[in-house]
Symmetry: C2
Subunit: 472 residues, 2 copies
């Protein structure tokens, strides 16, 4: 008897599969104000693991965490011309506070470049104060017309880094360091997602930046998702806010700046990059629960064995949860852990108690099921979890490689993207006018990459290739 | 030659001392929107240590972290009558989003009881779903007319816990567990602050609660600071939002709820409970930097010894920072670390390199200074830091005991509080009318305690004592 599908199959309706999975795996729900999101405990536990993995890497660069206010005077937003143009349509505005109309309305931060520069301009006096490397973990609000949980929400959680440097070169190097050693490293090593590093075209750049570095990933339907960006802001905000320093030579110079962010979108990326028709597949290094030990029946010796096994796995350094809710049918619980994508399920029933103890081990990533002795599990599982982690990354890479086509014309590029894949086209054959044509079919340049696969220094460097796709 | 004071002495002007210290120790600054606050890296590192210490204890109770939206439909706030009355004067209201006036304005959360109950009413179906134990780390906005950094700010950071239980008793026990085993334990063991547990009078209770448990601490000027509160909400929000469950017996029952919060106020409490005329004294278990190793001069052998010593202390599990900024005068750096309240300073100069290595060890809490061999430091310091931690708690307890007077009349109670201390007065001699009289002199009942020092079950239990003071 075939089991009824728990989710709409991906091949049938990918967006619907995504929404059902986010809800049924208890990651998140819609909030009451349009576009907002309630992140449920399981979704938040995954986000907490993302935060801690990123936070360690951010602190290794020398950046320190701080916190700037949620509310920004509306006038600040207008100080940098491109910035205000980019963000105005998305702002939430507080007009009343403490029962009165405010003298100056305040915007709920959509990002903090403006307010942070207000303080940088006070804190930076001399070259000795540079580089100034600040990060904050915060919520931001950008009014969203077509909301989708984790992917586009009117409020989202993120980290935003903001730095000031004495020279253009130092700023450029720092943005590249965040791009490669924080973002790409975390996404590859922990999220198990193959990310393509590149440079945004002028059209796609951050409002107020000279250059935006991006990491793009292919989702299960062949569309692209922007995973994290690092911006070289040049001296634009420094000039707007008067952020200057006294150089060693005694001259007053504007600082060079960067900003960089990654968000709760990463949770959505994890769902769409690894999920299958049975549910999530959470990468073992990320998983808040790596192993769930299930009691098939509620008999005392079974429960004792379940807890003993879980204790042994915890002692081996694994993140383990016991499921002894035997008043709920075993099959239903198994389906639930499948949906939640816990990497390994250890099922112990009455028949497993003989011969010193066995269990059924189900590995979510490869989808394997086998009988094992419980006394070897603690030795075995750390290695198997690393195998599964590597498998996810390999599958992610194979998907991108298998669904990327090299093309020569705008028509071919559009066709490949609309069909659900990525196309690589020489930037010289596309250009800004070509970008406009792609946009008519909701196709965008995700990034430019150099001939040798590195991130190009300019949009128009010879040999630049544009990677185009439909995107979330 | 007496050194010029770095700070206004506490005895001269305590509020000014506080404000200067918060700024000079680089904890925080005022934000541009009235009442908001920029938390600088050193202040935020202290808050992060508070967060992690609290988070572990919260998770030990079985509560899970989640995240609810910042923006709450204005109509939600009006569903519980006392709640809307309590919070209306403090609300910040978003009237415009995405360039348009909103159909229904949204308030920036001042606390999340209302929006969380909206979801609890969906998530709780059966007794099997209870208890439901949720915590969130978030920012909240309450418009503040008389702002003071960390103590009263229009935006602050906090954790807010929200739970739903099947019975009144279970809810009451859980609120008490948070009160004692999370809040009191953390504040005593980590913050080194002697906190008095008690019960709020009806006048001082949370808007919408049946009962509020509080922890009150005495600051350096004898005033009180509320450190954290746990509320028994009864069924008030459950009735307002229809949060019901199907009992084992098949009846539909309203849940019993709690909520509990602690905030960035704790940073202010740490400043005012332990700080002295030279700066902060950060408790060693809390301190982001427990030991700073200073190079007195920039000579190569000195720097090598400084880094070697720091590495040895790190290997002993201590949180260590090196100060080798020898282009800044040594005296100025020493004053700066004194201001920042780092528990131990290890100073190494050229003369310390002889005889296998010595250093000057300065302990911030007792204010001692002595010459030590560097090779014994790693063995010595963990124990000394624990001594200093204990000393801070003892001093905090002695301050409270030495500045609390037992009185019989409202006049005596007022006098003691206005003079800068706490008074204990039988609740039977005070009562709600007496509270009104105290309020005329800005004196409040901080809490009620039972005769035996425990937390009373009702306001009017025989033998209840009111602890009254001026408060932050």
């Amino acid at each position: 008897m075939a089991k009824a599908p728990v989710l709409t199959p991906r091949a049938e309706d990918f967006p619907r599969w995504y929404q059902e999975l986010v809800n049924k795996a208890e990651l998140a729900e819609n909030g009451p104000v349009r576009g907002t999101m309630v992140i449920r405990p399981y979704g938040y536990a995954i986000w907490e693991r993302m935060q801690s993995g990123m936070d360690v890497r951010i602190k290794e660069t020398g950046a320190q965490n701080a916190y700037f206010p949620l509310l920004i005077p509306q006038s600040y937003m207008t100080k940098e011309a491109e910035h205000v143009e980019g963000f105005s349509p998305e702002l939430a505005v507080v007009t009343h506070g403490g029962g009165k109309e405010l003298e100056e309305p305040a915007v709920v931060r959509p990002t903090s470049e403006t307010i942070i520069n207000d303080y940088f301009s006070k804190w930076v006096q001399s070259y000795r104060d540079l580089p100034l490397l600040i990060n904050q973990w915060a919520n931001v609000v950008r009014w969203e017309m077509r909301p989708r949980l984790f992917l586009r929400t009117s409020e989202f959680l993120w980290q935003e880094g903001h730095t000031a440097h004495a020279t253009h070169e130092d700023a450029r190097n720092f943005a590249a360091r965040i791009h490669h050693h924080v973002y790409a490293d975390f996404m590859t090593e922990v999220l198990g997602i193959d990310v393509l590093p590149g440079r945004k075209t002028a059209r796609e750049r951050f409002a107020g930046a000279l250059n935006t570095l991006t990491l793009e990933a292919m989702m299960g339907d062949g569309k692209a998702l922007q995973m994290g960006t690092s911006h070289e802001l040049g001296q634009n905000f420094a000039r707007a806010f008067g952020t200057r320093y006294l150089s060693r030579e005694g001259t007053r110079e504007y600082v060079w700046q960067t900003s960089w962010g990654s968000t709760t979108r990463m949770v959505g990326a994890m769902v769409m990059a690894h999920g299958d028709d049975d549910g999530l597949r959470v990468p073992p290094r990320l998983a808040p629960v790596q192993v769930v030990v299930l009691a098939v029946k509620g008999e005392e010796p079974v429960l004792a064995k379940v807890h003993e096994t879980a204790a042994g796995l915890r002692a081996a350094g694994l993140r383990v949860q016991v499921d002894d809710r035997t008043d709920t049918a075993f099959g239903r619980r198994a389906v639930d852990w499948e949906l939640k994508g816990v990497p390994v399920r250890i099922e112990i029933g009455p028949r497993d108690l003989e011969d010193g103890g066995t269990a059924t081990m189900v590995r979510r990533v490869p989808g394997s099921r086998e009988q094992v002795r419980t006394d070897v599990l603690a030795g075995l599982l750390p290695g198997l979890l690393e195998e599964d982690q590597a498998l996810l990354l390999r599958q992610s890479r194979e998907r991108r490689e298998g669904n990327t086509t090299d093309v020569r014309t705008i028509g071919e590029a559009t066709e490949a993207a609309v069909a659900g894949g990525w196309a690589r086209i020489p930037w010289s054959a596309l250009g800004p006018e070509g970008e406009d044509k792609l946009a008519e079919r909701s196709v965008t340049v995700r990034c430019l990459v150099a001939e040798d696969g590195s991130v190009p220094e300019t949009d128009d460097a010879p040999g630049n290739v544009a990677v185009v796709a439909r995107a979330y």
